[in-house]
Symmetry: C2
Subunit: 242 residues, 2 copies
Amino acid sequence: MSIIGAFAFFLKSGRDKDLIKSIKNITGFRPGNFILYKNALRHPSVAKDNITDSYERLEYLGDAVLGTVVAELLFKKYPYKSEGFLTEIRARIVNREELNKLGLKLGFNKMVTYQVQNNNFSHKSIYGDSLEAFIGAVYLDKGFYQCKKFIIGKLITPHFDLDEIVASNKNFKSILIEWAQKESMDIRFVIINEVSGKNHKEFTAEVQIDGEPIGHGEGLSKKKAEQAAAEKACLQLKLISA
Amino acid sequence: MSIIGAFAFFLKSGRDKDLIKSIKNITGFRPGNFILYKNALRHPSVAKDNITDSYERLEYLGDAVLGTVVAELLFKKYPYKSEGFLTEIRARIVNREELNKLGLKLGFNKMVTYQVQNNNFSHKSIYGDSLEAFIGAVYLDKGFYQCKKFIIGKLITPHFDLDEIVASNKNFKSILIEWAQKESMDIRFVIINEVSGKNHKEFTAEVQIDGEPIGHGEGLSKKKAEQAAAEKACLQLKLISA
């Protein structure tokens, strides 16, 4: 590295300075290994090297860390609730839609870099994905306990009302299965279509009651598609109101 | 608590002493909060209270912690591999079958308490499940970093050969999908049956090529059933040899 190169290495651009400020605002601390955060905020569409520069690897790591922290939080908050309950409540917090909303609230739309492509589909969950990657960056940069403090103190507590989440029963699939068992009807969820985008897949699910299709739904995961199909079926069967 | 009661509280039974010895052998340390480990080794069939005394809640927590530790291990070991690769390799390590085998190797069959029921099906993955719960107990008892050390030093490094796992391509579903795309055939995986036991479900998957069923498989998860069906289809299509 030349002297100028070395000097430039320590000089941060205006954009970098803004980014550091934003990271401090979100986390409450100054980033140590800044490169990690920059990677966490870079969609594969603008990465020089898809694998090492984009947020995808960090997203995989952050997803796991977030899952663990929320698992423990719920485990301790609800000492008399079953593991089925804990799994269900965690899924209501840690899912693509909620994380995407949270990413937007935190201003990730001003921080994430990406290129608009013809097919906008692949950008649907970009803020949630990069938020997970950001969590992965915090974990690598600051260690487990500071990352846990960040997740609980800055992400979960201010943005999720656990009591309200527990009270709302949005699990249409459970409602439907319970109803079918009571009525001794055969119920089946079938993935009838799967479309692959560059970074995502979209699924179509069908609910069949005694072999008859009664609802269809689409989603970015099989689970989401099944939920969407189950909601339609619940409406159709008047188990819920619109 | 009477004086005798209090005294009995501090006296551990012979079985407890053996258990503490076994825990020390497995982990390398003396358990702090012994109750946690006892719960981790108690199947719901013999729990006084399914929720607070059995291993199910701890299993939910341990599963998350194990996932995080293995995620980080692979993330760091393979810095130039995609998140798809990391996810796939993690799934080959952290799955019901592998964990069950590992639980047996570690002697969990001598430690876990359960009641044999008419339907043996629900005990199929008992050692893997309680191993995950055991990890949850270590996490709560000793904290993240000691638990991580335990997972890597006592579970992964001595029992899994990562290079061999990476080299073996057991993902029959991927092989099949790749083949179908090359041949421009329509391929579909359909769960055609689902049987519920007390603690587990068993699934039957069907692979359809251009609408024709070409392989069936069963498994304790949808993914396993699909893999089993895909393996049959791969054999049928001579994409692999038996």
